[in-house]
């Protein structure tokens, strides 16, 4: 009987091909939209989270001056190496303290030259920045103390200047001096702001101060806090210490700022989550619109179908045989539509995430949800009008206008 109903249903689908396709189209679009949107949204969120964790976890960044607005900082005298040392000595629960001084240089090797930025710091910089070495070593204590001409370079420098091979031991010219490459960083790729994180040269801070900037200034102090420690407490301790060292009286404002990456993380992941939810909501609307489309088509065809049910019953079909046929028809149609929608979504979201450079994060529960919803809509609107018709006297079903 089921097989018979299945054959009848398939015949019916083929006979009313246009109606069947329109019905499926609603399901296809709805399912594909929801899955694609959520998959892309999840990928974007994961991407942002990954980039933030690449920034370093539990990181505090202390800079002189106060932020006045986008891109503007009020003055405030620079830090020095003693400030960094004081933080290391006196603030509890910290893992690494990396004072940094920056400079822009043109690096030359052979006939090649490349504009890049130099960061002067210590070995803690590798911890605070989540940098790992692909080859070579970090700085030795004596190299740091005396400010030797040694550098650890990013992947971009290695590629652009040294054509990627045997970078260790090579000597780069940076203006008036040259430095020996002792280490190569593992690639991190683009930051979420789009800048190339691998385009960097790291040197002992003393080397930068002496050879490039010509002063003792520390432009930023990066501090890694132990995991599971409240960064606010550490933040307060650093603020108190620095206020003290900078001789600020109680009624003076801070002339420096402490930034917490956790806040950035929260803001950014929060934003992308909201975006994902918005996209999902838009897609859900399209699923509902698809559902209404199915409903419309089913309701429009109800007159014809009611007469058809009347004919079938008049020639001896049982109510349950007719209903089974319609149920099978609705199930076949909506699951076929659902499957096509899923395939379409897989294609669209894999292409989309490749184009956007975000990970392909398939969420099976969303697939299941979209499928179940569309199947339910299909069955609901395919089955219930049929049930109403099959409960009529055959003659009333036949007379239906």
């Amino acid at each position: 009987m089921i097989w018979n109903a299945f054959l009848l249903a398939v015949r019916e689908i083929r006979r009313n091909l246009m109606r069947s396709i329109l019905t499926m189209l609603g399901i296809i679009i709805g399912v594909a939209a929801v899955i694609t949107m959520v998959t892309l949204g999840n990928g974007a969120t994961a991407q942002v989270a990954a980039e933030i964790s690449g920034l370093g976890s539990n990181l505090l960044m202390v800079r002189p001056g106060q932020r006045m607005g986008p891109g503007q900082r009020s003055g405030g005298k620079s830090f020095n190496l003693e400030d960094a040392e004081a933080i290391r000595q006196q603030v509890a629960s910290i893992v690494a303290v990396a004072p940094t001084a920056n400079a822009s240089v043109t690096a030359v090797y052979g006939n090649e030259n490349w504009s890049s930025s130099v960061v002067g710091s210590n070995n803690d910089y590798f911890i605070t920045g989540n940098w790992e070495l692909a080859a070579g070593r970090k700085f030795s204590d004596s190299e740091l103390k005396s400010g030797k001409n040694r550098c650890v370079i990013g992947n971009t420098i290695a590629k652009e200047l040294l054509s990627g091979e045997d970078v260790l031991g090579k000597k780069l010219r940076l203006g008036s001096f040259s430095c020996e490459v002792i280490g190569l960083l593992k690639s991190k790729g683009q930051s979420m702001m789009g800048s190339d994180q691998d385009d960097t040269i790291i040197m002992p801070i003393k080397t930068v101060q002496r050879r490039l900037s010509g002063n003792q200034d520390v432009s930023m102090i990066r501090i890694s806090v132990k995991p599971n420690i409240d960064t606010d407490v550490v933040n307060r301790a650093i603020t108190m210490l620095l206020r003290d060292r900078r001789h600020l009286s109680d009624n003076e404002k801070n002339d420096f700022s402490v930034m917490d990456t956790r806040e950035i993380t929260n803001t950014l992941t929060g934003t992308t989550k909201v975006m994902t939810m918005l996209l999902g909501a838009v897609a859900a609307v399209s699923l509902i619109v698809g559902g209404i489309g199915i409903m419309n088509i089913m309701l429009v065809s109800v007159t014809e179908r009611t007469r058809e049910i009347g004919i079938r019953m008049a020639i001896g079909a049982l109510e349950k045989e007719v209903l089974l046929q319609f149920l099978v028809e609705a199930v076949v149609l909506s699951s076929l539509g659902g499957i096509i929608g899923i395939l379409l979504a897989l294609l669209a979201s894999s292409v989309g995430s490749a184009l956007m450079g975000i990970p392909f994060m398939l969420d099976y529960s969303i697939i299941a949800l979209a499928f179940v919803f569309s199947a339910m809509v299909g069955v609901l609107f395919g089955y219930f009008p049929a049930r109403n018709a099959a409960r009529l006297n055959p003659i009333d079903a036949l007379r239906h206008e």
Partner: protein, 236 residues
């Protein structure tokens, strides 16, 4: 005539009311008759006299408001929906006043449909459907959908669909209503043959005395009641 045998069909005081309460309309106002196996009955009467209504009740497509309907001694008015469906499936063939064929469905598929519900195999169904179509003179038209057939051809497809199951009773509501005289004569000759050769009991509604002449009994309806019920010599 055949009054000694138990009747195949018996109506006792059958009433059919349409609408409810104040606007109630009695389409059948107490109809009594007995029909025996093998009869060929023509039902006549003015438009609106209740001919189609009585056919629908006979065909178990509609239920009487009151009264008794016995088929083979079984009280049809007490049967449930499924039992009535099985009665239609196994004993009755119905030709509607307005064809009622499935749209966009070939003549062959329309005719074989009753056999689908009887559970016949595809090859058996097709053979039987072809034979029925041939019987009504539609060989070669098997693949045409109702939209591609004339009214008379559709009428014949509807007759073929009613015949294909070899029913015990054939109920035809104006089977020649859409046909020219020559075609009508052919259909009547066919019904006559089915009645005399296969022993199928035929009940037919018609407006035309020439067609009613093929029957051996004539029931005349007026205003929801049997006005005349007489046997006659059937034209061959």
């Amino acid at each position: 005539m055949k009054s000694r045998e138990a009747p195949l069909i018996e109506f006792k005081g059958v009433v059919k009311a349409y609408g409810k309460g104040g606007s109630e309309f009695l389409a059948l106002k107490g109809v009594d008759f007995q029909i025996h196996q093998g009869e060929f009955v023509a039902i006549m009467g003015p438009s609106g006299s209740g001919k189609s209504t009585v056919m629908n009740v006979l065909g178990c497509l509609d239920t009487p408001t009151s009264g008794e309907y016995l088929f083979h001694g079984v009280h049809v008015e007490t049967l449930n929906r499924d039992q009535r469906a099985l009665l239609r499936r196994n004993y009755l063939g119905f030709v509607f006043q307005g064809f009622n064929l499935l749209a966009r469905t070939s003549a062959l598929e329309n005719v074989e449909l009753p056999l689908v519900y009887r559970g016949l195999k595809r090859s058996e169904r097709h053979a039987a459907a072809r034979k029925a179509l041939e019987l009504v003179g539609l060989q070669g038209w098997e693949d045409h959908a109702p939209g591609e057939l004339s009214g008379g051809q559709q009428q014949r497809v509807a007759i073929a669909r009613a015949l294909v199951t070899n029913p015990k009773v054939l109920l035809a509501d104006e089977p020649t209503g859409n046909l020219d005289t020559a075609r009508s004569e052919e259909i009547m000759a066919l019904l006559s043959r089915l009645n005399s050769d296969l022993g199928i009991t035929v009940l037919m509604v018609t407006h035309e005395p020439e067609m009613a002449a093929y029957a051996n009994r004539l029931i005349h309806f007026v205003d929801g009641k049997v006005e005349r019920d007489q046997y006659q010599e059937a034209k061959q």
